[in-house]
């Protein structure tokens, strides 16, 4: 693989490296990985079928799988990957961002939609939405946690993510701007990661009664 890459002038990092010794040309930055869209479409279609048919297993599957991955990724990115990126030099952050952020543009909204869509329907079907449900207060607490995370993610994290991707498409991206925006991304990912701990507490409480 590495040999093949060398033969066509591709460095292992994905940067196009001309063989004549000229400076490497950065690979173009994708905003939305189009190849991933069919996968997203299949996942969302499955969720709609689960909701329309009200199959408890399917709803539970979508809610648990989506929620587990959402929580896990938020915690991992916010508390493990984020600080590592923060300690990396700017060029390394840029190269990481080029590959990482387009994937997050597809993965996170899909997981959030799966979790919340299936979770709401599951709660409705099981009668948990009713104010008479003994743990209704915990459920409302989960709404608040998700609401705060949504405001942080949509108000700060996603704008920073998109702005970085567009900056990277420029002929001469501004390294300082990218660093600033990445810092916003890392901090907000850390905050949402910590808030996911509250989600874990609430959801395990609801699941066990």
């Amino acid at each position: 693989m590495a040999q093949a890459a060398q033969e066509v002038g591709l460095a292992p990092t994905g940067v196009i490296a001309p063989v004549d010794g000229a400076p490497p040309i950065p690979a173009p930055v994708t905003i939305v990985p189009v190849k991933g869209l069919p996968i997203v479409a299949v996942v969302i279609a499955g969720m709609i079928v689960a909701i329309a048919t009200n199959q408890i297993w399917a709803l539970d599957f979508y809610h648990v799988v989506g929620g587990g991955l959402w929580t896990g990724i938020d915690l991992f990115v916010g508390l493990i990957v984020g600080p590592i990126i923060g300690s990396m030099p700017v060029p390394a952050r840029v190269e990481f961002s080029k590959r990482f952020m387009p994937k997050m543009v597809l993965i996170m909204p899909t997981l959030v939609t799966m979790t919340l869509g299936a979770g709401w329907q599951l709660a409705r079907h099981l009668g948990n939405l009713d104010a008479g449900y003994p743990h209704h207060g915990w459920l409302v607490a989960s709404y608040i946690v998700v609401g705060v995370m949504a405001v942080i993610a949509l108000g700060l994290l996603e704008p920073a993510n998109l702005a970085v991707l567009f900056e990277l498409r420029k002929e001469r991206p501004n390294g300082l701007l990218i660093e600033k925006l990445m810092r916003v991304f890392i901090y907000t990912a850390g905050v949402t990661g910590l808030m996911q701990v509250a989600t874990l507490v609430i959801m395990t409480k609801l699941a066990t009664g």
């Binding site: 409705r124 409302v140 900056e167 390294g175 300082l176």
Partner: protein, 160 residues
């Protein structure tokens, strides 16, 4: 400072902490021109809509008193209108990039809002509660594209 190929070398030294005493320019300064606080206002609008949604969702399937939700909705609507008006008066701006990002975001968020509306109707939400939720979803579907479009366009050269 070592920079990646094609990256402008105007950042701080690698590994340095750029924000302490005396600090580097803020994001607003990096935008290169004075702009209205669109991101802050859009985030506040989003927070109001989310708070209203949580209030209503906490009472479903019953019909809650709509006063607090209507107040939050009204405030969010005013903020969105004021925000859009303030941005529309900016001349030195990358309107092409704004339209590109906001347009696609609007399409995506109209689909999301439509799905949420369908869920509320499917679950039997009716009357005033449905009207307030629908208007909140409409504000949500307009506010996020405004925010995302601005967030990208503010760092692009004017006229792009």
């Amino acid at each position: 400072m070592s920079v990646a190929p094609g990256i402008a070398a105007d950042g701080p030294p690698a590994g340095a902490e750029p924000d302490h005493a005396g600090g580097s320019p803020s994001l607003s300064q990096l935008a290169g021109r004075p702009l209205p606080p669109v991101q802050q206002l859009a985030t506040a609008t989003l927070a109001l809509v989310v708070a209203g949604g949580i209030y209503l969702a906490a009472h479903l399937p019953r019909h809650p008193p709509l006063g607090p939700a209507v107040a939050l909705l009204g405030l969010a609507g005013l903020l969105l209108l004021g925000n859009a008006l303030a941005l529309s008066r900016v001349r030195d701006f990358a309107w092409g990039k704004f339209r590109l990002v906001a347009g696609w975001a609007l399409l995506a968020y109209l689909v999301i809002a439509g799905m949420l509306e369908y869920v509320f109707v499917y679950d039997g939400t009716r009357g005033g509660t449905l009207v307030v939720l629908t208007l909140m979803l409409a504000i949500f579907a307009l506010d996020i594209p405004l925010l995302l479009g601005f967030s990208v366009a503010r760092f692009q050269p004017p006229g792009e």
